[in-house]
Amino acid sequence: MSSVIAPATSDTFADAAARRRLAEVVEIALAEAKRLGASQAEAAINVSQGLSVTVRLGEVETVEHTRDKGLGVTVYFGQRSGSASTTDLSAAAVRDSVRAACAIAKYTAEDDCAGLADPALLAREFPELGLYHPWNPGMDQAIAAARECEAAARAEDKRITNSEGATLSTHAGLEVYGNSHGFLGHQAATRHGLSVSVIGQDDSGMQRDYWYTVDRAPGKLESPESVGREAARRTVRRLGGRKLATGKWPVVFEAPVADSLLSHFVGAVRGSSLYRGASFLPDSLGKPVFASGVRLHEQPHLPGALGSTAFDNEGVATRARDLVRDGVLQGYVLDSYSARKLKLQSTGNAGGVHNLTLDPLGDAAGLDALLQRMGTGLLVTELIGFGVNTVTGDYSRGAAGFWVEGGAIQYPVEEITVAGNLRDMFRDIVAVGADVDTRGNLRTGSILLGALTVAGD
């Protein structure tokens, strides 16, 4: 059978005909579910294609053509559910998958809260969010951009001695979701990026760091040269890292790593953590969970942003809202299932949050101002490991960064950990910078915390 995806170089990838073809596959799945006696069903199809080119030490290292497709289907027989997925979108394979889902639903238990989203919450308006900017740079242009980026990194400093390469990638995706309430929505989005990782070396040893740019529109990417130079700058500044003496210090999380704190917060106010009693922030609605003045809000309709979407994974309309206002928790992060468990309504977060944004706090404009405000302490620029416990809030992660005195960076530090409890850490936010990193779905500037335990020598 022929592929339902347009060829990789085609500008018809996400056009009306392509959307219609995928919608037909969704219809086949929903119809089969109905035929087999399911009381409700939903199906989602994702197709994507892309090109990724890596240049290392000036030479092409890998050229990868990506082309993926998949269908996921969930069926409900009353309050029992089953799911299945397949990478084969032929009508026969789709029906097989629906059958597999139905077979599973014979064995799962009755669950009061199971089912599709409340029809009243489904999206009816589909604003143009500016997420689809197809780009077909061609192999030569892609290679040239990666080469220029890596060359700029290597030329920036004599101590850059090696490279892990520069990668240019371009990606287009089309997603169609439909359910037996009659909802059918589609969303096309692109994502293009350029990244480079280089190695610096001196008498103290080797260090590696990287930089990247990513956007839905190719024209908004940073220039290859600036990406390369920033990667080099970040790499050489780490050379000669020392350990610190163990102690308690104020800590600034630089914007590119500060988003991890938002992700831990989402983990604690997510419906699935709350109804399981697996959150360190239970029953916190209306209570202060952050320092006063902190505002954390979702912006799902931000034009061209990486986390923008008109509807969530269940078709529920997304809307802008404050999650935290003046430090007080205003709402949870819920899909339909966890909302029912908690006797609340879905917040349109099946699949996650949408451009969750921490507003600047205090008068510190950028990172330098935050360091001034901190005076003496630790600037964290890298975090490694998984030492976060969502049940207790206990936090202990490997870190690297810089020792700061008098508001100025003194020397690089490494092989240290930072530890505390997230419940305390969120309350202990002193300032948030305006240096917002917009390269992801969690958007924040650098964050200054009052104190964490730093373990070293």
């Binding site: 053509h65 084969d88 064995y107 202990s396």
Partner: protein, 484 residues
């Protein structure tokens, strides 16, 4: 029973025959893929079925069944790799992928292509049978319910039990430009239990699980499922009494088994061939040098029967082997796939692995462990005046260039005056890969492998792995607690 031949027959039957692809079609594909400038090429056929069942709040709420099938086509020229894949296993799509993949080597006339394929004999480390079919669906549900009851029966403080059961049946067939044809049929099962306990308003969690290249009855016949439930509860209850963990550098004793994640992070990744060929690893150029204390021997062994990290052949068709990485403290060699072995002028070690047909292979670990030493574990603990005894861990991570690595303890105790005293909260341990093993002063006689829970991530690709070690004393390691 000649299992390898059987395996190839199964793979041909499920991957090639439905698509009408025979040796002639494979030759055609290589003719498209190979030009004079292409050094090597391979085609990776995969068909996988995966299922998962999960229980919480006493009931099995969800189950899923997934099918993943496709073909990855790769051309290699020097250090360059061109790669394309298709999830339609039909010849025209494969020829298109071959055209895209060979574009890395621009010119060049026709090259030698195989017309005859020769079978590679792999190991027979596990049965090729479908684990999804090894237990009736209602029995899978019952098994999870038994696990939940076992956990709740342990202690009234158990408030929540989450359990999941999963199996994968993966069939792969690898055809190479030199005419080698290899196949593997890989079962994988896993059971996981997480519990939340509560007392006096304090909540803690514990997690246990295991599995391997087995069928579901393995979890039942050995009563492992219920043992995992008891273990998860035990860990959670220990944590209810845990005090703040210490912060700073101190002697650390690591328990046997899963704490071998130390080896995976501290030295394993740094000894993968790609990083060493490129000179980006802190271990690059150090073969023959002392990187660990005398008495420390570490291997990567893909040939252990039924283990989670084992493979009959790797994802490039090379039979797996037991590779000595460190012998009596001396660095002996790296883990290699075909590309990096060729470029470094050494033999491949059966470590070429990929997450799926949609990913490029690269050097990856299989089962990485340290051989036993001579010390009694009790003697090792007794040797420490003041330090940490860590027996269970969550995940870990490493920066292979600086060598800094972390792994996070989920069950740990203080050692005071040679005795294990109070439990402490989970904390991340951080060290420097190239020298941490030089600080190993005692190696236990109690080598244990993990229960089969490890998944390793590298460059966005996940593969199942195993680790193991005996009880170890490390004279100084930084412990990231809050008690400064």
């Amino acid at each position: 029973m000649n299992v390898p031949a059987n395996t190839l027959a199964i793979a041909r039957q499920s991957l090639l025959e439905p698509a009408g692809i025979d040796e002639h079609a494979l030759s055609q594909l290589f003719a498209r893929l190979m030009t004079a400038r292409v050094d090597d090429a391979d085609v990776y056929f995969q068909y996988s079925r995966h299922e998962a069942w999960s229980l919480e709040e006493g009931i099995v709420k969800s189950g899923s069944h997934n099918i993943e099938a496709g073909v990855g086509v790769r051309a290699v020229a020097g250090e360059k790799q061109g790669f394309a894949y298709s999830d339609d296993i039909v010849l025209p799509a494969l020829l298109d992928a071959a055209t895209a993949a060979r574009a890395i080597a621009h010119e060049g006339g026709a090259a030698r292509t195989p017309v005859r394929f020769e079978n590679v004999a792999g190991h027979a480390l596990y049965a090729p049978a479908d684990p999804l079919a090894s237990l009736a669906d209602d029995a899978k549900v019952k098994l999870l319910e038994i696990v939940e009851r076992e956990a709740r029966a342990q202690d009234p403080r158990v408030k929540q039990v989450m359990a999941s059961l999963a199996a994968v049946h993966e069939t792969v067939l690898i055809a190479r430009a030199d005419g080698r044809l290899a196949a593997d049929v890989r079962p994988l099962v896993r059971l996981n239990v997480t519990v939340i306990v509560e007392a006096d308003g304090r909540r803690e969690t514990g997690t246990a699980g295991g599995g391997g290249r087995q069928s579901y009855p393995y979890l039942i016949e050995n009563d492992l499922a219920r043992a995992y439930a008891r273990e998860a509860v035990r860990q959670a209850l220990v944590n209810l009494d845990a005090v703040e963990a210490p912060a700073g550098t101190m002697p650390v004793v690591l328990g046997p088994g899963w704490p071998g994640i130390l080896l995976h992070e501290a030295i394993g990744h740094g000894l993968e061939g790609d990083f060493n060929r490129k000179g980006t690893s802190a271990f690059a150029g150090r073969v023959g040098q002392q990187v660990a204390a005398k008495g420390v021997t570490v291997v990567d062994d893909g040939t252990l029967a039924g283990r989670r990290g084992s493979l009959n052949v790797d994802d490039e068709g090379t039979p797996t082997q037991c590779t000595v990485l460190i012998e009596d403290g001396i660095l002996k060699g790296y883990m290699q796939d075909l590309l990096n072995a060729r470029l470094m002028g050494v033999a491949p070690t059966g470590n070429g692995r990929r997450e799926s047909y949609a990913h490029l292979p690269m050097p990856r670990m299989t089962n990485t462990y340290m051989l036993a030493g001579s010390h009694d574990p009790g003697e090792i603990i007794a040797s420490v005046d003041k330090g940490l005894y860590a027996v269970n861990f969550g995940g870990g991570q490493v920066d292979i260039t600086s060598g800094k690595f972390v792994f996070s303890a989920s069950e740990a105790y203080l050692i005071e005056n040679g005795k294990v005293t109070r439990p402490v909260k989970g904390a991340t341990l951080i060290g420097n890969g190239p020298d941490v093993l030089t600080r190993v002063s005692m190696v236990g006689n109690d080598l244990k492998l993990d229960t089969g829970v490890g998944t390793c991530g590298k460059e966005g690709q996940s593969v199942p792995v195993g680790v193991g070690q005996p009880t170890l004393r490390i004279d100084s390691l930084t412990v990231g607690g809050t008690q400064a």
